[in-house]
């Protein structure tokens, strides 16, 4: 019994626990504010409007401001963070750095508050983007790395791969080819799993470029072919194709296979091109032609590329255009011109901090100006060393960033784990404590019950013993009575008889009066004999009255309790009940219930009168115990152990137990039991 109760308690606790969790989680999920829907709609609309390229940038900014103001009035939840992030990104697109910083920071703080990993990552992504465009690659890498870790943590594979791609790209810029390759291969794995062919195209294109940079041209061509193949598997913009053709052409160019290179450049030029692409390909093609000593139209082409680049202010590429033009003039033996362009390129490269081009121009200048060649070469060596140093430093920094983020993450994980353990531990403790408490309560309850049963048993035993004692006493009484009866009858009566007869035969011869008196006394003696005989007879026949034990006991009980409880009582016993036929067990139980009830009357009822009646209705024994005490509300009160006991006792005997009580009018117990009980 104890075990089953324990199991129940455990189950209940578990249920409560899980329901609790379910509730909190469902609440947090379903708590999307419905009243905000219209607001959300208008915010989304304004953000969309801000992307409209037909508007001026100030108009676009106005739309964003409206969206931002409206957003302030909505609840600070995940959706709020998302909208904020969108607005920040739009500001970034509009190149409003101040607004971007302000709002993106707000986004990040809110995301951290909400512990919304996606929003956190998103904000960092925006930062990374911002720094990337500002060519602050170190900071950009830092944010990409954080975003990467968050995206990975919530298993957003596409975003994770995208971050890897960006990080790889930055590493590539700093000539950390191995690190870059590792990252891009990781990204490719993820894109492959996602079957995102566009991103695969970009990734392979970039990987091809990397291979080209480390002079693994065949590998580069292999990856670039792969990128080209992926182009067929998704609907793409046409300039993707010209871009890959240009890159393949570049690989061949570096491989010094200029004919093949020109072939690919032509392919690229036959496709639709953006102006910068057009300029780049034209420039590259012209350079290849130069290398093949085919100078026809080269000058025009080179200058066309430069013009295009000038018009779109593509500084890096203007630089490379100028380098090519310098090479062309060198070839055309127009040394001063060649030197002029090389010098211009050199200054630009220094300004743009474009190390490789700076070195190239220095070398070029050294070639063109043999007099000062030593000086240029010295600068070249010095700069090359410092460039390598910078690159190494940056590479180290990247590693440190990665390491620190990893460390931070593991630390966070550890903290999270610790927190979890604390929660689990405290919950466990709580469970154990409550279990212990319940166990203790149960134990004391059981002990009480055991005590109660033991007490009950004891009273029953006492009753039976009293009954036995009473029976023995009664038997002795009967024996004694019989002995007296015998004595009277056999001894005294006989002797009296003898004496009387003898007296009768005495010759009384005096006067007549004496004779009459003699006769009279003789008759008197005979009467005495008769009386004695009757007494003896009665003594003997009263023996059948030995079955009043139970009622005697009840009467005794009532008397005792009435003194204790200071009440008057009346005991009514129907003559119809033959107590001898009533089962002893019934008597024991009745005695016990009456005893208990009387105890209750003394303790609680404050009664001045108690009526106890035993009667017989058909084949049922009916017991009625009524008091005129203060009573109680029998509907409301939960059953006490005594009442429950009485109930179960009577039920076991196939009887009925009914208790009714009216406040201030007393309580009455009605028991009905079948007389012939087979137990």
């Amino acid at each position: 019994m104890k075990n089953s109760i324990l199991i129940k308690i455990l189950l209940c606790l578990c249920c409560v626990f899980f329901i609790g969790i379910a509730c909190t989680s469902s609440i947090s999920k379903e708590k999307k504010p419905s009243k905000d829907t219209s607001k959300q709609d208008s915010i989304a609309l304004w953000i969309k409007a801000s992307k409209n390229k037909k508007l001026t940038s100030s108009q676009q900014q106005k739309q964003l401001e409206k969206a931002y103001l409206k957003l302030q009035s909505t609840t600070k939840d995940t959706l709020h963070a998302k909208n904020l992030s969108n607005i920040a990104y739009q500001y970034l697109e509009l190149k409003d750095a101040t607004a971007f910083h302000k709002i993106n920071n707000e986004t990040l703080q809110l995301a951290l508050q909400l512990k919304d990993s996606f929003a956190i990552a998103d904000a960092h992504w925006s930062y990374a983007n911002y720094y990337y465009h500002n060519k602050n690659y170190e900071k950009s890498y830092f944010h990409y790395n954080i975003a990467y870790n968050h995206f990975e943590g919530i298993q957003r594979d596409f975003e994770t791969a995208k971050m890897l791609y960006q990080m790889s790209f930055i590493k590539g810029i700093y000539r950390d080819y191995t690190g870059s390759e590792v990252l891009i291969i990781e990204a490719i794995k993820k894109f492959k799993a996602l079957k995102n062919y566009e991103q695969l195209y970009f990734s392979y294109n970039f990987l091809g470029g990397l291979q080209k940079d480390i002079q693994e041209y065949d590998k580069a061509l292999f990856y670039q072919e792969k990128a080209l193949a992926y182009l067929d598997r998704f609907e793409n913009k046409k300039n993707y194709r010209s871009s890959i053709f240009n890159n393949i052409g570049n690989t061949y160019r570096y491989k010094k296979n200029y004919t093949k290179a020109i072939e690919y450049y032509n392919k690229a030029l036959s496709k639709k091109n953006r102006p910068d692409q057009l300029a780049r390909t034209t420039n590259n093609k012209a350079y290849c032609k130069l290398m093949l000593h085919d100078t026809l139209g080269i000058q025009q082409e080179l200058f066309r590329a430069l013009r295009i680049r000038d018009s779109i202010a593509d500084k890096t590429n203007i630089l490379s255009s100028k380098i090519f033009i310098s090479r062309y003039y060198e070839y055309a033996k127009k040394i001063p011109l060649a030197f002029k362009y090389a010098q211009e390129a050199n200054i630009m490269a220094k300004k743009l901090k474009n190390g490789s081009n700076y070195l190239e121009t220095l070398q070029q200048m050294a070639n063109l100006d043999p007099k000062n060649a030593k000086q240029y070469l010295e600068r070249y060596i010095q700069y090359n060393d410092s460039l390598i140093g910078v690159e190494r430093r940056v590479q180290n920094k990247f590693t440190r960033i990665e390491f620190e983020t990893d460390e931070h993450i593991t630390e966070n994980k550890l903290l999270e784990q610790q927190k979890n353990w604390i929660y689990l531990g405290s919950f466990g403790m709580l469970l154990i404590i409550s279990l212990l408490y319940i166990l203790k309560v149960q134990k004391s309850k059981n002990e009480k019950l055991l005590l109660e049963t033991a007490q009950q048993k004891a009273t029953e035993e006492i009753y039976l013993l009293t009954l036995e004692q009473q029976a023995i006493l009664e038997e002795k009484k009967v024996q004694e009575r019989n002995r007296i009866s015998q004595e009277l009858h056999d001894g005294i009566l006989g002797k009296l008889f003898g004496t009387r007869i003898n007296l009768g035969f005495l010759e009384i011869t005096k006067n007549k009066k004496v004779q009459e008196q003699h006769q009279y006394y003789l008759e008197e003696l005979q009467d005495i004999e008769k009386e004695i005989r009757d007494v003896s007879h009665q003594l003997n026949t009263d023996t059948t009255n030995t079955d009043i034990n139970f009622t005697n006991l009840i009467a005794q009980l009532l008397q005792d309790k009435s003194i204790l409880g200071n009440f008057k009582y009346k005991l009514t016993l129907s003559e119809q009940i033959s107590w001898k036929t009533v089962n002893e067990l019934v008597k024991v139980n009745l005695y016990r219930i009456i005893q208990e009830s009387l105890q209750n009357i003394i303790k609680h009822a404050n009664a001045s009168q108690v009526l106890l009646a035993f009667s017989k209705e058909q084949e049922h024994l009916v017991v009625e115990l009524t008091d005129n005490g203060i009573g109680f509300n029998s509907n409301k009160t939960t059953k006490g152990i005594g009442l429950k006991n009485a109930h179960s006792r009577i039920q076991k005997l196939n009887g009925k137990f009914h208790l009714s009580s009216v406040k201030n009018q007393g309580t009455s117990i009605h028991i009905q039991l079948p007389i012939t009980i087979t137990i």
Binding site: V478, G494, K495, F505, R533
Partner: protein
């Protein structure tokens, strides 16, 4: 002149003396009657006297017999009843007057049935005069029964049902307060006795299954 041999068996000397006086009174009143009186106070003496007479080929004509007397040492004769049966056997012609203080119907009935005495006196019924007349009656015109015995006969005659020995025995035992399972001398199981009891209840037209009512009724009707 008729000379009778009389034997008085009673454990109380005073009573046996009284019987002797009565016999002498009869002898005095009836000139043709005389008694040769012997007295025994217990079963053993009674048996000795009987044996003695029997040995001498003589007979005992009249016996005053008390029922509750000390039994013989060999426990063969337990009461006056056994002695009476012995006398019936040894001297079939002897006239026995049972004189006892017993007044319960069952015992009277069983003595009447077993011994069939010529006189039955309940001591308390009897006055000296009646005692004398009872002796004369038994000698000349038996039987003589005292008042209580006569009443019993009358009661039984008015009952229209018959109880056998076992019924009577059961009733008798119950009247002594014997518990059902302790009733011996009845060749029945407890349930058999219960059946008889229920039957008796029906006969006496009783509703409750109380022994008390049954016994009172049986007494009233003169069965015990």
């Amino acid at each position: 002149m008729n000379k009778y041999t009389a034997l008085i068996i009673d454990d109380h000397p005073i009573i046996s003396e009284a019987y002797k006086s009565a016999l002498l009174q009869v002898q005095k009143q009836q000139e043709n009657i005389s008694f040769n009186i012997h007295i025994a106070h217990n079963c053993d003496t009674a048996k000795e006297i009987i044996s003695d007479f029997s040995d001498r080929k003589k007979t005992i004509d009249l016996v005053f017999l008390d029922i509750s007397i000390p039994p013989s040492k060999d426990k063969k004769l337990l009461s006056g009843e056994d002695v009476g049966l012995m006398i019936n056997r040894v001297f079939p012609s002897s006239k026995i007057i049972v004189s006892t203080t017993f007044n319960d119907n069952y015992r009277i009935q069983s003595i009447l049935k077993n011994m069939n005495p010529d006189g039955f006196l309940i001591k308390n019924d009897v006055s000296p005069k009646e005692l004398v007349s009872s002796i004369v009656e038994v000698l000349t015109n038996p039987p003589y029964y005292s008042k209580t015995v006569m009443k019993l006969f009358r009661n039984q005659l008015t009952n229209n049902f018959i109880l056998d020995d076992i019924d009577r025995k059961i009733l008798y035992e119950l009247s002594l307060g014997t518990k059902l399972k302790n009733i011996e001398n009845v060749p029945l199981s407890t349930s058999g006795i219960l059946k008889r009891k229920r039957h008796l209840m029906q006969i006496f037209d009783l509703e409750s299954s109380d022994d008390r009512g049954l016994i009172i009724m049986a007494k009233e009707k003169g069965f015990i």
